[in-house]
């Protein structure tokens, strides 16, 4: 320990020791000189003899300094200072290199953080590995994952032993009103055990108490019971609408014309059961326990040590019991469990991984460019290096200087890159609205650690190779008239390899981008069964309180349609309870079977229920395959009719026409009745071009007036935008019923492949940057080469070479590089295509 301390003391006192040594040695010389003078020599003679007999002071002083501890550090410090000075003199080089490295490090750090946070980090709940999402599944009906029916869930809750908790809920758009105005938000109703199960505590106020959950806040269209119900705000809504004011807790707002008291605010956005949920309401499972309306989202927490498989089989046993007790509703239905984490992140996974790869390639390309710059610089300094070598410098001292320069540049670039990444991460939530877990992005120790690694990699690629080459200068250069006209062959080979690698990587990126562009265009061009151009969509949610009779809602919608039809440029106005690709509206399936054949296992089909107005098919240009659509004649007192989708028609009546047949629909709350099939509607890919065509039955709105209707307005192409007019009309008819955001159907359709489109955009951006970088790199290198060989070219011209020959000669160099690069790039492309 004492040794270490004295060691440290020595290093700190180095400069002082140096002076002392000098003083001591000079003293020695002076005494010798004095002695000689006493012997009678002259001053100059004495000094000459001193030099002869004693030796020179300076080399001895140097040697003594070298033998003392800290000599090495001093040398490093000297090199560092030298490197800094050299860099500050070459400002353009430094600026460009730092920027390039910053670009590469910033992009890769941003994407690494995205991938790490969204895909790999566990959800921000205590023991998130035990959280699962539950689905009902029926392989024989071709249903892989669907929502859970309340009655089934209640049975699971009471019998499942392997679960610590099972919460259930569903999401619905509702109108929020207070003195600031009205807006439609997505609310989620969940049983009270959700928040404790997830370990989520309110930021301000509290979450629900058990009493609050015993009351049904909304049960279908029934009237509310009890005193002021309560509401918990999501973080986003609190920030946006209530200005992040803690005193929002305790305020009263209106939700669908009912008063709700805000009792708490959540610390983060909780996007359950689906993205975009803004507020939470309490819910109870104790009422209306049906077993076949499967739309509830169930989330559970397994007991410690229980595997998902074990829990699944336990629940399967319960499901089996239910199936034998209630065969009409539960036969053939089982349970599927999915870890909550997987469920949340599944869609974003391929996109993010793809972009991570692209950013890595950009990093490599940027670093190669810096390496090329270094090479050029090394070339310019080759004479100086050769001289130093000739004067006795060790090779690796030359290397050290180059490495220091690269290290300083990389450090600066890395720091700047980390700053870029921080900014980018702050912007991502705004630009990528449907990225799961986007509230959890920030630059933390892991991200910074990655940035450091990326910086080291940058330093290595950008600096090591050129530094190594620059430490091998040809000593003959020290005696020549100037630097060589061309670099030595190994240096040239190294440079060429870099350029080839750059171009190859760029080709891979371009190819990948091209593939993505092609697949996105295919999606955009795909036929989903309807025409999404020039259609505005406005979902309207009438509430049971204001519209407590079917008549009132019919009158309302009749008014709406009439007013909308009279707007300029409108071709058709229709409405449906659920519109393709529109996320709002009741979307559920019911069993149907042909009346004559009777209900048997083999001919009962699940069909999605859609209630539409007569002009709906025109508004969306969904073709009618057979029969007729609905008309004014299909009124509330007329014969009950419906239309079926093509697939369903073929499935129910394979050999004959469906028109005129009688179909029984089990619409449990209102009973099981036969309906006459009046038309067959073409198939619609309801969730966008990549989804399957659904079996659906369509009811006329006049016969089954539903409170919720998505209004679709088709305008003439080129007509002026009608969104504001639409809103005005709705406001005039009922100010408390604004539409939930007027959107264009083409935008909604695009949103179904938004992830792919985003991936394509970002990937193409990366590819463009890579192109630019490698283009610059190749150009710079060729220009440099040409300049260097200007002497040689001059000789060729003097010997009679024409301009074209010279150009061809230079181009030949470039072509050689391209050939090599393309072969590499193409092999990379095949692996990218496989992905």
């Amino acid at each position: 320990m004492a040794r270490a301390l004295s060691y440290l003391r020595e290093i700190v006192n180095r400069r002082r020791r140096r002076r002392e040594t000098h003083e001591e040695l000079l003293d020695h010389v002076e005494r010798f000189v004095a002695q000689e003078l006493r012997k009678g020599a002259s001053e100059s003679e004495a000094r000459r003899r001193a030099r002869l007999e004693l030796g020179d002071v300076l080399p001895v002083a140097e040697e003594l300094a070298d033998r003392r501890p800290g000599a090495y550090l001093e040398a490093l410090g000297r090199d560092l200072r030298l490197a800094l000075r050299a860099l500050s003199r070459a400002r353009a080089f430094t600026f460009v290199s730092v920027l390039l490295i910053a670009l590469g490090v910033g992009a890769s750090t941003t994407l690494f953080t995205l991938v790490e946070r969204v895909l790999f980090r566990p959800l921000p709940f205590p023991e998130p590995g035990r959280l699962v999402r539950l689905f009902e599944t029926s392989p024989e009906r071709g249903v892989a994952h669907t929502g859970v029916a309340r009655g089934n869930l209640a049975a699971w809750r009471s019998e499942a032993r392997l679960f610590e908790g099972l919460a259930a809920g569903y999401a619905m758009g509702r109108t929020l009103s207070d003195d600031q105005g009205s807006e439609v938000i997505l609310t989620a109703q969940f049983t009270c055990d959700l928040f404790p199960m997830l370990g989520v505590r309110a930021l301000h106020g509290r979450t629900f108490s058990n009493q609050e959950c015993r009351r049904a806040v909304y049960s279908g269209a029934a009237a509310p019971k009890g005193a002021d119900p309560v509401l918990v705000l999501g973080h986003g809504l609190w920030t946006r609408r209530f200005g992040a004011d803690p005193s929002a807790v305790g305020r009263t707002v209106q939700l669908e014309r009912r008063s709700f008291r805000i009792v708490g605010v959540l610390p983060n956005d909780l996007w359950l059961p689906e993205p975009g949920v803004q507020a939470f309401l309490p819910w109870t499972l104790d009422e209306e326990l049906n077993h076949d309306q499967r739309y509830t989202t169930a989330i559970g927490r397994l007991r410690a040590g229980v595997t998902a498989a074990a829990a699944e089989s336990e629940l399967d046993a319960v499901a089996g019991r239910l199936a034998s007790e209630r065969p009409e509703t539960n036969r053939g239905w089982g349970i599927a469990l999915l870890p909550l984490h997987e469920h949340v992140t599944a869609r974003a996974r391929p996109v993010l991984l793809l972009l991570l790869g692209a950013s890595g390639l950009v990093l490599l390309i940027a670093c190669s460019n810096v390496a090329l710059l270094f090479f050029a610089r090394g070339q310019a300094r080759s004479r100086e290096s050769a001289l130093r070598l000739a004067l006795g410098a060790a090779r690796w001292q030359l290397l050290r200087l180059g490495l220091f320069e690269a290290g300083i540049l990389a450090a600066l670039g890395g720091a700047l890159g980390a700053a870029f990444a921080g900014i980018a991460l702050a912007w991502v939530p705004r630009l990528w609205a449907d990225l799961p877990r986007r509230g959890e992005l920030d630059l933390d120790a892991t991200a910074l650690g990655f940035a450091v690694l990326a910086t080291l990699l940058a330093a290595l690629i950008a600096g090591a190779l050129p530094a190594w080459r620059s430490a091998q200068p040809d000593p003959r250069e020290a005696f020549g008239d100037g630097p060589r006209t061309t670099a030595s062959r190994p240096t040239q080979a190294a440079r060429d390899a870099l350029v080839v690698a750059e171009i190859a990587l760029t080709v891979v990126l371009l190819a990948g981008g091209g593939l993505l562009v092609r697949s996105v265009s295919a999606l955009q061009a795909a036929d989903s069964g309807f025409d999404a151009e020039d259609v505005l969509v406005a979902p309207i949610f009438l509430d049971a309180q204001g519209y407590d009779s079917g008549e009132k809602s019919r009158v309302y919608y009749a008014q709406v349609f009439e007013r909308l039809r009279s707007l300029p440029g409108v071709v058709a106005v229709g409405g449906a309870t659920a519109l393709p690709t529109s996320p709002l509206g009741p979307d559920f399936a019911r069993p149907v079977w042909p009346a004559e054949a009777g209900k048997h296992d083999h001919n009962v089909k699940q069909a999605s229920i859609r209630i539409i107005t007569p002009d709906y098919l025109d508004a969306l240009r969904i073709p009618l395959v057979e029969g007729r659509g609905f008309s004014a004649g299909d009124g509330p007192n007329a014969k009950p009719v419906l239309a079926v989708s093509e697939t369903l028609a073929r499935a129910l009546w394979p050999a004959e026409s469906a028109v005129g047949k009688s179909l029984i629909v089990d619409y449990s709350t209102s009973g099981t009745y036969p309906y006459e099939v009046v038309g067959v509607v073409a198939d619609v890919r309801f969730h966008g071009p990549r989804s399957e065509a659904q079996s659906a039955v369509y009811f006329p709105h006049a016969q089954r007036s539903y409170l919720v209707l998505n209004v679709a307005v088709r305008t003439k192409p080129g007509a002026p935008p009608l969104a504001a007019e639409l809103r005005r009309v709705l406001h005039e008819i009922d100010p408390q019923k604004p539409a939930h955001g007027v959107s264009r159907l083409s935008d909604l359709l695009g949103a179904t492949f938004a992830h792919e489109r985003r991936a394509m955009q970002l990937f193409v951006a990366f590819a463009a940057v890579a192109c630019l970088l490698s283009g610059l790199g190749v150009y710079g290198m060729l220009a440099y080469r040409v300049r260097q060989r200007s002497a040689e070219i001059g000789v060729r011209v003097a010997l009679g070479a024409t301009r074209t020959r010279v150009v061809r000669y230079v181009a030949g160099e470039a072509a050689r590089l391209w050939r090599g690069a393309c072969s590499w790039g193409c092999s990379g492309r095949w692996s990218a295509a496989a992905f």
């Binding site: 040594t21 001591e24 040697e63 003594l64 033998r67 003392r68």
Partner: protein
């Protein structure tokens, strides 16, 4: 006075012994040590490049210690003195040298 033509280079390794013995007599500065060795041996000549590295080496090994003092002619000088460790080492080196010298002499004087 040493004759430059007749001076010998110090055998490697023996310089330490010479310095330690010189300092055993009294603390001394670099010049003094060099003079002492030159005058007493009548053979060796001290160059800066041999004396001072040896002094630094001995100092770093903890065998001698240095201190700045006012010297006889009122100038500042760095005085070295033997440490206890150095004293012990001196005894070891002396006996080693004597054995070596005796051995060499025996061979040289044998017939």
């Amino acid at each position: 006075m040493t004759d430059p033509d007749k001076s010998l280079d110090v055998l490697p390794g023996t310089l330490d012994l010479l310095i330690l013995k010189t300092l055993a007599l009294e603390p001394q500065h670099g010049w003094g040590i060099g003079q002492r060795i030159q005058q007493t041996s009548r053979v060796f000549q001290m160059k800066l490049g041999s004396l001072y590295p040896a002094l630094q080496r001995l100092e770093q090994a903890g065998l001698i210690q240095a201190q700045w003092r006012q010297s006889d002619n009122n100038r500042r000088a760095r005085y070295y003195r033997l440490t206890r460790l150095g004293q012990k080492r001196l005894q070891i080196e002396i006996s080693a040298w004597q054995r070596l010298a005796a051995g060499v002499t025996r061979i040289v004087e044998s017939t």
